[in-house]
Amino acid sequence: MAINTEPVFLNLGPVHPSTHGVFRMRALVDGEVITDIEPVFGYLHRGIEKLAESKSYRQFLPLTDRLDYVSSMNNNMAYVMAVEKLAGIEVPPRAEYIRVIMAELQRIIAHLLAIGSFFNDMGTFFTPFFYMFIQKEKITDLFEMVCGQRLLYNYMRFGGLSHDLPPEFIPALNRFLEEMPSEIKKYERLLAENEIVLARSKNVGVLPREMAINASAAGPVLRASGVKWDIRKDDPYSVYDRFEFDVPTGASGDCYDRYRVRLEELTQSLEIIRQAVAGLPKGKVLNPVPLRLRPPAGEVYSHIEGNKGELGFHVISDGSDKPYRIHVRAPSFINLTALRNMLIGWKLADAIIIFGSIDICLGEVDR
């Protein structure tokens, strides 16, 4: 006897404890299985690219913090590098090294958050999340030492940084570098081989290699699918070419691989910070730059390896003190292109995990 069933429209609504921000997915569900999904964007659209056209270059700098609000140092760095390239501004070597240290510390924070939320979505009731937050608090304290802020730092300036490091920064950083590796081992030991974690995330939400390249995925999502592409290695910027580090890649592109890539990248970031601290030169941290910056007319595209992927700023100048057009190549937004293909065919409970493993930040998706 054939049972007559109808697919049901389900709203994984904008206000939801697990969707990492205000993001809505309309899913067509047949029983438990998702047959179609339509992501709805725009709940956090603030028109940052339009605002850029009415602010000067310097006034736009705090707005870049608010793009991916979890990775403010990286956003600052990408924008500042773009404008420096456009205007031909030099950066003192000490500032370059400190920028690298800050960017890598920011990457550690963002990955800890991503991994913690990944386990949270699986239902471990915040326990790994809190364990990782203890380390995140230490890094946030370091940032507070430097620039006084805990979330949106606005630390980098055209031609360097806003403040030099206070004397207590390096000893505190060294203490953190000593205790972090054992913490990473603890996270691995506690949960990486857990049967339930494996059952929920292995071979779940697979993004094949060809589709990852075709869908312009970037960052850990691309690397977990087997593509060894890291801008810090393949198109080095700042002083990254002076550091030795590995680029972890995954094999199959499932949720488990994305988690493992982020876990391994924590170790690599620690390695970079160690080398940067060892080679930190002395000197000033800011080259004088006019307050009303007027870069020559032209355009530039400058990118960095942000923690979610390739973060690029396409800056077009017409010679005045306000940018003509700033376009943000937002990795979270473009990583979501493959969302539909990754979710169809899976069950509802997997949808949250797969979506969480892409690790997006709504500030960047909607700008």
Partner: protein, 149 residues
């Protein structure tokens, strides 16, 4: 180090019918006609030696007399990049062929440009607004938006 390809190298290997669509050579990229966009993009994607298989970003710009759409292409294997630029003179009904047939990654970015700038991408499977709500009138990123709106 990612190398920016010289446009001469591209022009030399383009087949005749596609090369005729190249309008101007600029330091930042090759300006082409909208009609040859899909052809040149497909050629660049598959031609051995070029293999620009990664669409990094699509930018839409409102240069006051015309619209411009920039396509930044990468080759992950050969580690070089190239930019294609398309200029649309028709400001009232700008239309450009969509690249979603070649790259899935073009889908959301083209919707964003349609939403904010009003450029229609023909052949896009779902040409509708993405950030602003249905029923919003106007395209905010245009330079003439906001006056008396």
């Amino acid at each position: 180090m990612t190398v920016g390809l010289d446009y001469n190298r591209i022009i030399d290997v383009l087949p005749e019918d596609l090369a005729s669509g190249a309008v101007a050579f600029e330091a930042h990229g090759l300006v082409i006609q909208p009609e040859v966009l899909t052809g040149i993009a497909a050629f660049l994607k598959t031609e051995p030696g070029l293999e620009l298989d990664y669409l990094c970003s699509i930018t839409g710009v409102d240069c006051t007399e015309y619209f411009e759409v920039d396509y930044l292409l990468y080759s992950l294997k050969l580690n070089h990049r190239f930019t294609l630029k398309v200029r649309l003179a028709d400001r009232s009904e700008p239309v450009i062929p969509s690249l979603t047939g070649l790259w899935l990654g073009a889908e959301l970015q083209e919707r964003e440009i349609y939403d904010l700038l009003g450029i229609t991408f023909s052949g896009h499977p779902e040409m509708k607004r993405i950030f602003l709500w249905e029923g919003f009138s106007g395209h905010p990123l245009r330079k003439d938006y906001g006056h008396g709106h």
